[in-house]
């Protein structure tokens, strides 16, 4: 059970596209900066393997320039 946060940096002019692509994913919440080209991304997955799959999927987005991990918390399964 992993909760992680990232800074997602879009390619120039691709911020809106990246926001929409991230919003379409069910395990993601985002907070876009209003005045800079960066998006806070928080992921919440059931297992480490789900987490890896989600990350790999996000990294296929052409709108994404860089995904930088900031924090990660493992929580017991019964937390849900």
């Amino acid at each position: 059970m992993a909760i992680k946060s990232y800074l997602a940096h879009p390619h120039s002019g691709q911020k809106e596209k990246l926001i929409n692509e991230l919003l379409a994913l069910k395990n993601c919440e985002i907070i876009p900066a209003e005045n800079k080209d960066v998006i806070i991304l928080v992921t919440d997955t059931e297992s480490d393997s789900d987490d890896d799959i989600l990350k790999q999927h996000i990294e296929t987005f052409n709108s994404l320039k860089l995904l930088a991990l900031v924090s990660g918390f493992n929580t017991p399964k019964n937390d849900l």
Binding site: L7, E34, K36, V38, V42, S71
Partner: protein
């Protein structure tokens, strides 16, 4: 129940988002997020307890969220003037190491080559018995303690009292010798009083920040984010003066690179320019400074039992000016690789009477075979221009550890120190004897072993018992190979107190399970003279015990119980109240514990209910009593010293056989030797192992690809690491850089144990290596 657990999960997600926002704010000053999303974190059922961060010397205030006796969250303390609610990536995750599966929870005693789980009382009996019998057989100077800038103030205090007051040996030193000793000797030689005169509020006033060999973006990220905020909001400028391009360089207004060791020459060239252009603050210099020179060609401490004592001689301004003629920008550019134009640019910043300048430094200047001199030289610049002890103007030595100042320097866990003053001073010994209630004759007047020499003495067989606390010397000492072999010898009984197993505990005869930071009460003192108290927040596992209490228990078992009349429950408080007596008065008065319990730290001198933010300036410092605007009261004549200190080469430098400089240091994800942060999954995953950085031209010439394993070889040892090219940092051509956090890639087997002859602090930034494909 389900609702509670769900809200906790939501809470953790908000914590994760907050951590990312904080990181974004560090990278993008002025960044704005939608206000409704910054509305704060749900408090859940957490009980938030305040304290200082466990890691660096910045001393950020933290709030630890405790639920059902467990620490489940950390956030920045918005009431702390240090960090104003910000934290770095290490700070947010610090409590996650406590539950590591290999946590030391019980004492381990080596029997027939195997560690046997042993009740803590039995282990402490053995430690006391061994220490006592060693003293009886070989004398009191055959036992030693080696502690830490991460020890709390009470832990350092009882270690000093046991060794110097009870046993009567000065065989106590600490790992702050490896990071801050040159800052101490710099302050003492220039001002006669240790620790910075200014405070972090200088950041809000300065027009220029000049960082000397100091990658603040990674090592002091919260302070650097405060500087970036000023850069963005007020147009303050950051000039990075370093030997390697780092995250700090790229975030600064200017990056100026210099050849290792030549900072000495550049600093003198800046002074030359200040004088040559008439930028000297003549009144300040005449009223508040004197000039001195010391011995030169001191050597580098490479041989055992090396000793050096400086012999200061007074000189006059004309002699000093004449000396600087060897340091014109044009002469210095030839070997420093800093253009005369850039040297003049730096000098013009300091020389402009209308601009406020703060100089920051940390390991680049301190871990230097002429570290004391380098500290003196930066003080010279500020003294010549009178830019000192005023809001936004001053030299500021940053610390690496959370209580290098509070414990190592103020309590005095160095061989030459006492809680007030030094062992060589009879009055200081008398004060210690009075407060400790021991005969003054028991406190020896002569210092014994500094850190490097202490471990050489272990290797030689001169020290037969050593107890290390809160430190991991067999990863952090230079030329570790020799000292690891020494500690393995049967001639020395080794006791290691720690929270986790380390390469140092691997060679111990007894391993004592220490309480972690928030599992005990304590006090730390940060870089800006701020003392911070915290209450125990959670119970530690198994037999874990605070280091101070283990020291007290051993002292009692050795027959010194009357000197350690503290209670198990309140010993931190009782010890602090005893310790405060050493610093009574306007020059170093410390706040009462009741005040520290309420506030997010208090800066000393604490006089008449107020912190003193700028020392030596009569406008702010009640201890100034010479009737003038400034009073450097650490010196008998009330004047600071401008030192004539030349450029001298490093102890070892590249040659045909070993053609590269090796520079070592830290990364943002890991705390020093990694014993805590490598057990925090997110930090370990972000930076799982060390690496060796190359300049791309050097990598190309050696046909080395990014990620390829290479051997870094010196005359002392070798280390295999993956190459890193064009990634986090960029060394200058002819230099490689390796972080030292990784015990599996022991770069300190390669480094050199040369040190500054005055401070005895080793130089981890310069030795010669060659590179081979692994």
């Amino acid at each position: 129940m389900s609702a509670t657990l769900t809200s906790r999960r939501i809470f953790i997600k908000k914590m994760a988002a907050t951590a990312a926002m904080t990181a974004a704010m560090t990278m993008f000053p002025g960044i704005i997020f939608a206000s409704e999303q910054l509305a704060g974190i749900s408090e859940g059922n957490l009980d938030w307890k305040k304290g200082p961060c466990r890691f660096c010397g910045v001393g950020c205030g933290i709030l630890v969220g405790v639920e059902n006796g467990k620490a489940v969250a950390v956030k920045g303390d918005p009431n702390s003037s240090v960090n104003k609610g910000l934290l770095c990536v290490k700070g947010y995750h610090q409590t996650m190491c406590i539950q590591a599966s290999d946590r030391l929870t019980h004492a381990l005693v080596k029997k027939n080559g195997k560690y046997v789980k042993t009740p803590i009382n039995e282990a402490l009996d053995l430690v006391a018995r061994k220490m006592k019998s060693t003293i009886e057989k070989h004398g009191k100077d055959s036992v030693a303690m080696y502690t830490s800038g991460q020890s709390t103030i009470p832990e350092g205090y009882v270690a000093s009292k046991l060794m110097k007051g009870a046993i009567g040996t000065n065989n106590l030193d600490c790992n702050a010798r490896l990071c801050m000793a040159s800052a101490v000797t710099g302050f003492l030689t220039s001002f006669g009083a240790d620790e910075p005169m200014g405070c972090y509020e200088d950041i809000d006033h300065a027009d220029y920040f000049i960082t000397w060999g100091n990658n603040m973006a990674e090592m002091h990220p919260v302070l650097f984010s405060r500087m970036l905020e000023q850069k963005n909001n007020r147009g303050a400028k950051i000039i990075d003066f370093a030997t390697r391009t780092t995250r700090s360089s790229t975030a600064s207004n200017r990056s100026i690179l210099f050849e290792p060791q030549t900072d000495l020459a550049v600093a003198n060239a800046i002074c030359y320019e200040i004088i040559n252009n008439g930028w000297v603050n003549t009144k300040f210099v005449e009223d508040h400074t004197t000039f001195s020179k010391g011995l030169t060609k001191m050597g580098y401490g490479l041989e055992d039992n090396y000793s050096f004592t400086d012999k200061p001689t007074k000189i006059n301004f004309a002699e000093y000016k004449k000396f600087l003629e060897d340091y014109t920008p044009e002469k210095v550019e030839k070997y420093s690789k800093v253009s005369a134009k850039d040297i003049k640019y730096l000098a013009s910043i300091y020389g402009n009477p209308n601009k406020k300048v703060v100089s920051y430094w940390c390991m680049g200047m301190n871990q230097h075979t002429r570290g004391t001199w380098m500290n003196n030289l930066v003080y010279n610049i500020h003294l010549l221009t009178g830019k000192i002890s005023q809001p936004g103007n001053g030299p500021f030595s940053l610390t690496g550890q959370p209580s290098a100042c509070g414990t190592a320097r103020e309590v005095g866990t160095f061989t030459h120190k006492l809680p007030h003053g030094v062992v060589t001073n009879r009055k200081d010994r008398e004060m210690a004897a009075r407060i400790w209630k021991v005969p003054v004759e028991r406190i020896p007047a002569k210092p014994t072993y500094h850190a490097t020499e202490m471990f050489r003495a272990v290797d030689r067989g001169d020290i037969k018992f050593i107890w290390t606390q809160v430190t991991n010397p067999l990863v952090s000492l230079p030329k570790t190979k020799r000292y690891t072999a020494g500690m393995k010898k049967d001639s020395c009984f080794v006791v290691v107190s720690d929270v986790f197993p380390t390469p140092t505990s691997d060679v111990a005869d007894v391993i004592l399970p220490a309480s972690w930071h928030i599992e005990k009460s304590g006090l730390y003192g940060n870089s800006e003279r701020r003392t911070q108290y915290w209450d125990k927040m959670v119970e530690g596992p198994g037999d874990t015990t605070p280091d101070a209490w283990m020291t007290i228990e051993v002292a009692k078992r050795m027959g010194y119980g009357d000197l350690f009349p503290y209670s198990k429950e309140n010993h931190a408080e009782e010890i602090y109240n005893e310790y405060r007596q050493f610093h009574e008065g306007a020059k170093h008065g410390m706040a009462p514990l009741e005040v520290l319990k309420k506030e997010s730290g208090v800066i000393w001198p604490y006089v008449n209910g107020k912190s003193t933010q700028w020392r030596f300036n009569s406008k702010y410092d009640p201890a100034c009593d010479n009737g003038k605007d400034f009073h450097f009261y650490g010196k008998p004549d009330g004047k600071a010293v401008i030192w004539q200190r030349p450029y001298e080469p490093a102890a070892e430098f590249p040659d045909k056989e070993y053609p590269f400089w090796l520079n070592t240091g830290r990364v943002i994800e890991h705390w020093h030797t990694g014993s805590m942060t490598r057990r925090i999954p997110v930090l370990h995953k972000a930076m799982p192992h060390a690496y060796v950085e190359f300049h791309p031209d050097d990598a190309k010439a050696l046909s080395i690809r990014d990620g390829e394993n290479v051997k870094v070889i010196s005359r002392r040892g070798e280390c295999v690491l993956p190459a890193s090219i064009n990634k986090r940092g960029l060394p200058t051509k002819g230099q490689v850089f390796v972080p030292f956090f990784d015990e599996n890639m022991m770069i300190n087997d390669v480094t050199l144990d040369a040190f500054c002859p005055i401070s005895k602090e080793p130089d981890y930034k310069k030795c010669a290596v060659k590179i081979q494909k692994a």
